[in-house]
């Protein structure tokens, strides 16, 4: 691990008092919140999927093991988890685990493409306290959305939004990954979410998972980043961002929220097989801290892993620490640097001062960008396949071929949408 992480002094002392952001750099006894991906199975095949999801992993945590993780989160007083996947609702025990978590003081915010949110489920959710729903949508129009998320996915998502609104669900969210193709639609997203009484949440697109394959094509241009920053300054109080755009703070005025990489310090990821990574965008052996199935469980991984100990100290070396804007952006996103092949103590590839572009241009031509050891992407055609990559969409009515292996079968095969 030492080779890739920026130079840091050995076991520095935590300061007393001072700003919270400085305290957070030294880590917490338990995460503020964490992301838990319940399954790698997904009915969609989004081109930019951060976890390269598609097929279920046979080693997925069982219901009992997942309950054990929830018990542990309750003991550690992790008050809420962001549940995702894959598509978490295709796990047959999803609704049980949701109730189990809420019953154990662990609130759930889950992200879904909406495939299972029919009227009955929407009513069930509206009647449940302490649950938050985020419907993923990456275009304010079907045309822009379906190019990356797949034909029919806009219709599925908006149907789910309609069901939630009709059921009287409060405070549900529309979650948007900002790309080159949808950044001009931010106001349209606002109109769309207002229509359903929902709240808009926008987050940064990272080159993680399949996102690495389309990052050059989809990440916002410098000019778009500038527009996005202006939009956030004007609308920041009415939009959620997961504090994911802190690299933009180097334009000048800091954006609201925590302007810090929280990986392994205040957040982390538990993946479907129980592996614990520093952050949801860092599914790579380099950022693997341990597994919840090992002795001591999640708590031991969080509190004692060597990787997390290394991440819990302020960066003191590297090119960025000498930049006038370092205090504003803190060097940006670790995962974005890593998966574009940039050094972790240097600029973010989207550094708004332009140092990222210079660094990208200076990369060794022979450089092999790090690639995750995991890929659960569908291996066969998927109904409503995204068209961004120039592949023809598979007609929605086609008869699925028999699966070659159990894992190859879409968990939603045969399901009639609509």
């Amino acid at each position: 691990m030492t080779a890739v992480l920026p130079s840091r002094p050995a076991a520095p002392e935590r300061p007393t008092g001072g700003r919270l952001v400085d305290q957070f750099e030294y880590g917490l006894d338990a995460p503020i919140c964490l992301t838990w991906e319940l399954t790698y199975a997904c009915n969609l095949a989004c081109v930019h999927c951060l976890s390269s999801s598609g097929r279920r992993d046979p080693r997925e945590l069982t219901t009992a093991e997942a309950e054990g993780v929830i018990d542990e989160l309750q003991r550690m007083q992790v008050f809420y988890v962001n549940v995702g996947g894959g598509e978490p609702t295709v796990r047959p025990d999803f609704w049980h685990l949701l109730d189990y978590a809420i019953g154990h003081d662990v609130g759930v915010k889950f992200s879904t493409n909406g495939v299972k949110l029919d009227r009955a489920r929407a009513e069930q959710l509206a009647a449940t306290d302490y649950v938050d729903v985020q419907i993923s949508l990456d275009g304010a129009t079907a045309e822009v959305n379906d190019r990356v998320r797949g034909t029919g996915s806009f219709a599925t998502a908006t149907k789910a939004l309609e069901n939630l609104a009709e059921a009287g669900m409060k405070d549900f969210k529309v979650s948007v990954v900002v790309t080159r193709e949808n950044v001009s639609q931010l106001d349209d997203f606002r109109t769309l979410t207002d229509r359903y009484g929902a709240q808009l949440r926008i987050t940064r697109f990272r080159p993680s998972g399949r996102g690495a394959d389309v990052w050059d094509q989809l990440h916002p241009t410098q000019a778009q980043q500038r527009e996005l920053y202006a939009w956030l300054l004007a609308n920041g109080d009415r939009v959620l961002t997961g504090d994911s755009f802190f690299h933009l703070s180097a334009y000048g005025q800091a954006l609201p929220g925590l302007n810090l990489c929280g990986a392994g310090r205040v957040v982390c990821l538990i993946d479907p097989v129980g592996d614990v990574y520093a952050c949801p965008f860092a599914i790579h052996e380099q950022f693997l801290a341990g597994n919840v199935r090992s002795e001591g469980g999640f708590q031991r991984v969080w509190q004692q892993s060597e990787l997390f100990a290394e991440l819990r100290s302020p960066q003191t070396g590297g090119a960025c620490t000498r930049c006038a804007h370092f205090d504003a952006c803190r060097g940006g996103c670790m995962a974005a640097k890593f998966f574009t092949g940039l050094p972790l103590d240097g600029p973010d590839p989207e550094c708004v001062q332009g140092y990222g572009e210079t660094a990208l241009a200076a990369r060794d031509l022979d450089l092999v960008k790090p690639k995750s050891h995991l890929d659960h992407s569908h291996t066969g055609p998927v109904r409503g396949q995204p068209t961004l990559l120039g592949m023809p969409a598979v007609p929605a009515a086609s008869t699925p071929a028999p699966p070659a292996r159990i894992c190859d079968e879409s968990p939603l095969a045969g399901l009639q949408l609509g």
């Binding site: 008092g17 006894d29 302490y130």
Partner: protein, 103 residues
């Protein structure tokens, strides 16, 4: 907020009895504590261990001021603590204790 019995959320009177809100949990952290409100799902932080003790013992004293004295908060620092408590009252992390019959 207009009825005299309901304390306005933005008016924090340190001479009244307060307590940690019943739907709020404190999680100890090296620098203080993380505060979580199960009702409105707001998250906040207490930036010193003394403040944690103050919030946890509010319910044991007749007023917030008495709590600060009991926790040994130096007089010079009391305005800062009162401000921190006022912020916590505004975000409903602490609440007014109903008037109680004292023995």
């Amino acid at each position: 907020m207009t009825t005299p019995t309901a304390p306005a959320a933005d008016l924090f009177d340190p001479d009244l009895p307060w307590r940690r809100a019943r739907s709020v949990a404190l999680r100890p952290e090296p620098f203080g504590a993380l505060v979580y409100h199960f009702g409105n799902r707001k998250l906040s932080f207490l930036k010193s261990r003394t403040l944690v003790t103050v919030v946890e013992t509010l319910a044991d004293h007749p007023s917030a001021t008495a709590t600060l004295v009991a926790c040994g908060v130096p007089e010079a620092q009391r305005p800062a603590y009162v401000k921190a408590l006022a912020d916590l009252a505004r975000s409903q992390m602490i609440e007014r204790r109903p008037e109680e019959v004292r023995a």
